[in-house]
Amino acid sequence: MIRKRILYILIFISPIVLILLTLFIGRYPISFSEIPKVLAYPFLKNKSSIQETHYTIIWSIRMPRAILAGLVGASLAVSGAAFQGLFFNPLVDSGMLGVSSGAGFGAALAILLFNRSSIYIYIFALFFGAVAVLLSYIIGRTYNTTPTIMLVLGGTVVSSIFSSLISLTKYVADPYEKLPAITFWLLGSFASVSRQDLIVGLPPMTIGILGLILIRWRINVLSMGDREAHTLGINSNLNKLIAIGFATLATAGAVCVSGTIGWIGLIIPHIGRMVAGNDNKKLIPISCILGASFLIIIDNIARTLTSGEIPIGILTSMLGGPFFIYLLKRTKGGSW
């Protein structure tokens, strides 16, 4: 009991510790003793002398990047956990209803039509992410029976449509300038994030995460299936719509900041289950925290492992693939 409590406390403070640690890691050398000074700088009355470059690197580059990585990880993990409960399927992830491929297409289109670092990337990514989910939802509602299966099917269909639209965008893109930009964006990276990304990405992600944390117990009831949820006194269509709305906000916010990052929405909830069990009341907050920590760590690896940046989407999948196989093996045993 005490061991479990210590574990929980460690998990819950891990993102903060990791964000602080991240400030010490990077290619630009700043001495360890310097960093606390730079951190304290805005709060001190009698300003000690610090280098402006150091201030910019800590406060405008490393800090926003670490916070964003944490938020993106939390968003993807929490929506993945919610979707697994909603669709009572432990193998779905946050992109289930096509939000990732929709947002990916939006961003690709924006890069094609405008330029690499325009605000249109956000707008297009958010818009098409939402359109994709809406389409999946409409397809899911066409039949009156077993809407859950239809939703999953709708999501698969819509995802594949948007994936082919992404390919089409790549095909027509200028191969020297636009095509690499699109490709790198789709691989997912925090390399170019700034405070502006924090400002744009923060609202949808926090609203989405908080919404799902608030509605988390209802996800338990919804995972009993539509029939039983209804007889337990829940308007399952409305509740599902609300949960899907929050998950879409969180995921779309994440995707438009960092590009498509796979696997987190699938893996992290399962690690969460091993720690906290299946009750979404505990699972959703744990997934949120674990997702944040996981992506902060991965991002640190991505930016320090080689002299260049490794796209983070590559790393999560590389670590995620073997884990997925391990997971399938475990499920077969039926122990979790």
């Binding site: 009572f88 338990n220 006194g233 299946n278």
Partner: protein, 272 residues
């Protein structure tokens, strides 16, 4: 009229053009067990789904208490009627306690979770059906019979006056069937709950009757209730021959302390 739990008046239902039942009327009194028997595919489950508000009848009306369920929200209906499904698919290894707590959903606001009072109610429900020691077990690892008791505890935690059970003993062995029946008797007797139950075992009705539980039996066939009445009136050799085309024999024993009444199938009626 105050002693009526459910009134079904001239109800008809069809899936598209395929009519499932038509012009069905019956009353369920408070504190009784209302058994519905009938051959496979006669529409029992559909009828129960309509009372549960899962399906909407095409014509007629269904009153629960005095309220027409056409206008009630799932939440209000759940406060009056609870449901024990025929088969429950166990998808995630929730703890037994978590499942029973879900019975409190209708009383829990959308953005909150069950509180300590709800937990106390869930605990009492588990105690009532005798599964308290399973509270912390993953419900994917308990037997089918125990799972059915978990479903009953969940319905009980809902604190509604009516529990609808759809073939609750369908997959249970001899002993678990009896445990379930005893639990139902217990609930009706001590918690004054009304039970509407679809079953394939005509003798369940006799079981309740010989345990001095007010029992009504309805025989459903071809989309209508062909007979309604107390078990003795409905479950006789004649009606069984008519509906199931089998010869049977009604047997009763006096065991000294109690009576046992059962109808025993003998042979299939050959077309004459």
């Amino acid at each position: 009229m105050d002693d009526l739990a459910v009134q079904v008046k001239n109800a008809s239902f069809s899936y598209g053009k395929k009519q499932v039942f038509h012009d069905i009327s019956f009353n369920v009194k408070k504190g009784e067990v209302f058994c519905i028997i009938g051959p496979n595919g006669c529409g029992k489950t559909t009828l129960l789904d309509c009372i549960l508000g899962l399906l909407k009848i095409n014509t007629g009306e269904i009153l629960v208490g005095k309220v027409n369920i056409k206008k009630t929200k799932p939440q209000e209906l759940a406060e009056r009627v609870a449901y024990v499904p025929q088969t429950h698919e166990r998808r995630f290894p929730y703890k037994v306690e978590d499942i029973v707590l879900m019975g409190r959903a209708s009383k829990t606001k959308i953005f909150s979770s069950p509180n300590s009072e709800d937990k106390e109610i869930a605990k009492k429900a588990m105690e009532k059906v005798g599964i308290l020691e399973l509270a912390d077990s993953p419900y994917t690892q308990i037997s089918g019979g125990q799972c059915q008791l978990v479903m009953i505890a969940r319905a009980l935690a809902q604190e509604s006056e009516i529990i609808i059970m759809d073939e609750p003993t369908a997959h249970l062995d001899f002993k678990n069937e009896l445990i379930l029946l005893e639990t139902v008797v217990n609930l009706v007797r001590e918690n004054n709950i009304t039970v509407i139950m679809a079953t394939h075992f005509p003798n369940h009705a006799y079981y309740f009757e010989t345990n001095n539980i007010p029992t009504t039996l309805a025989l459903m066939n071809n989309g209508v209730l062909e007979k309604i009445g107390n078990p003795g009136e409905v479950l006789n050799e004649n009606n069984i021959r008519q509906i199931y085309s089998i010869n049977s024999k009604l047997i009763d024993y006096n065991l000294g302390k109690r009576f046992i009444k059962q109808i025993v199938p003998l042979s299939i009626v050959k077309d004459a």
